[in-house]
């Protein structure tokens, strides 16, 4: 491959530059434009396109919402979850307080104490979702992958404080035992159907 092929990266073959229609200057030219537009049949192109979309089966974009739901990607940042350790069923959070420190809107509050084995225990952990901006710093800074973002976007509730208490966020034990704890694949993880979105880059090489 020569250097020209690499340096010419602005367009695929067959890419057409369109600089727009020239404006008519004389009355004769504007008359010609009226005739050209009247007989070009562009209106019928529009009719044909909508008819084609109507008779084509299975090209609808509608998601029947309560029955069908959108698959949230792993990078989606909805309300937080506190995860448990796979082996011991105990909480992953070690009470280091990094998330509380890094939170730029100061909405995480945790209370820790030493338990009978002199290990640090998190007694209270709350997130004020009225202030949280869902930046994801807390999940990024967590050394134990304890606090993560979930994909739960349906957050209707009667109380403002819901979803933000420790009991709301921590994986319940019965759900954990049923092996339903969703593991966080890490930041920058691809969604399951990422392969189907891969396309060739529109560059020359």
């Amino acid at each position: 491959m020569s250097l020209e092929q690499f340096s010419k990266r602005d367009a695929t073959p067959g890419y057409i530059y369109y600089e727009g229609e020239k404006k008519p200057k004389t009355p004769w030219e504007s008359f010609l434009r009226v005739v050209r537009r009247a007989f070009k049949g562009e209106l019928f192109v529009g009719l044909w396109i909508v008819l084609r979309e109507m008779v084509t089966k299975g090209n609808t974009h509608t998601l029947m919402y309560p029955e069908e739901k959108f698959v949230m990607g792993p990078r989606y940042r909805a309300v937080h979850k506190l995860l448990r350790l796979q082996e011991s069923e105990s909480e992953r959070c070690i009470g280091c307080g990094l998330c509380e420190k890094i939170c730029i809107s100061n909405c995480i509050r945790m209370e820790t104490k030493l338990d009978e084995n002199s290990r640090k225990e998190v007694s209270q952990y709350t997130i004020n979702f009225g202030r949280c901006i869902f930046c994801g710093y807390c999940a990024e800074v967590c050394p134990e992958l304890a606090i993560v973002h979930s994909g739960d976007y349906e957050n209707a509730s009667e109380q403002r404080a819901h979803f933000g208490l420790k009991d709301d966020m921590l994986t319940p034990l019965d759900e954990f035992k049923a092996n339903k704890q969703q593991e966080f694949p890490g930041f920058g993880a691809l969604s399951d159907d990422a392969d189907s979105f891969v396309k060739k880059t529109p560059l020359a090489y």
């Binding site: 209106l43 529009g46 009719l47 396109i49 909508v50 008819l51 979309e53 109507m54 090209n59 609808t60 974009h61 509608t62 029947m64």
Partner: protein, 330 residues
């Protein structure tokens, strides 16, 4: 005795036309939502009944039970009477339309036309134009700037399309020599090749365009265009008063579809092995589908563009058409 029979027959016919056309208009709203949805890659109403067919009932209940708000500064009598004008004129226009060919029930011959007057076309065009008083009065009485703009645009639309539709109809009427829609229909009973659209293609095109303008459908929906004047004349209306405008608009669509079918597309004459009644239903369904299709595909025009189109393009074309028809007739 005979007179009483005629009166009873006419009343029954009027009630049947009112009920059936109102039902068709309601069903047309559902079809419109579905067709537009599929053309825009959506599903449309899906939840009420199978494929949303009961959405009609839901909408009807909503319209009837909604609060009827009359704005404080509105001219109340006119504000109240204006929505009645729209369906009233639309249904009055249907009095002169022959819907189906003659048929016999229990040995009694029924002509499915309420009143066979000898100036049928003129009557229909005139009454349909009176229907434009509904948006005009509604817009002027509701003390709302959007409504006032909608009323002003109503007058613009009326002044533009009325000339075109009248002149476009003149050429086929010169060929036929009668204004009665039954005569017009019988003129085309020689099969497919005797349809007037083959002799008067330009008049057909012009009348169809004028029909779109007359029913305020999409290329010419300037009197209630949402992006410019909220809802035009109907901005201040709610509940069933707004619903009356809606019924009037759809009844007008059905009237225009019948007119085009009868005058240009062979009316209710039987075609091949298909009986005439089925034939005219197919034709008006196709024309109403065209209304919806065009709404999904085409952008709408500005008021000045509409006036330009009607006065500078369509009216000269209609005059040329009349001239050519006259020369050929002589």
């Amino acid at each position: 005795m005979n007179e009483i029979a005629i009166i009873i027959e006419t009343v029954i016919k009027a009630v049947v036309v009112l009920a059936v056309v109102a039902g068709m208009a309601a069903f047309a709203t559902f079809i419109e939502r579905k067709v537009l949805a599929y053309m825009q890659r959506r599903l449309g109403p899906m939840n009420v009944g199978p494929h949303g067919i009961l959405q009609l009932a839901a909408d009807g209940i909503k319209l009837f039970t909604k609060e009827d708000i009359i704005p404080q500064n509105a001219v109340k009598p006119i504000f109240k009477i204006a929505p009645v004008i729209a369906p009233a004129t639309a249904f009055t226009a249907m009095a002169a339309i022959p819907f189906f060919p003659e048929f016999t029930v229990f040995g009694y011959t029924v002509t499915p036309i309420i009143s066979d007057i000898n100036v049928g076309v003129l009557f229909i065009m005139g009454v349909a134009s009176v229907g434009m008083y509904a948006p005009l009065l509604a817009g002027m009485s509701s003390t709302n700037k959007w409504a006032l703009l909608g009323a002003a645009r109503t007058v613009i639309a009326l002044l533009s399309f009325e000339v075109v539709s009248g002149l476009a109809l003149l050429a086929p009427l010169m060929l036929i020599g009668s204004l009665s829609l039954i005569d017009i229909n019988d003129f085309q009973n020689g099969g497919f090749s005797s349809w007037l659209v083959w002799q008067q293609p330009l008049a057909f095109l012009l009348f169809a365009i004028a029909g779109f303008a007359e029913t305020n459908r999409t290329p010419f929906d300037l009197i209630e265009y949402e992006a410019e004047i909220v809802s035009g004349y109907a901005t201040d209306y709610s509940g069933m008063r707004w619903g009356l405008f809606f019924i009037g608009e759809y009844a007008n669509m059905i009237t225009v579809a019948f007119l085009v079918s009868i005058i240009f597309l062979g009316g209710y004459n039987p075609f091949w092995i298909i009986p005439g009644a089925i034939m005219i239903l197919i034709k008006i369904s196709a024309f109403i589908f065209l209304f919806l299709w065009v709404r999904a595909a085409w952008p709408h025009v500005r008021p000045d563009q509409m006036m330009w189109l009607c006065w500078k393009v369509l009216m000269p074309l209609a005059l040329v058409n009349i001239l050519i028809t006259g020369i050929v007739l002589i």
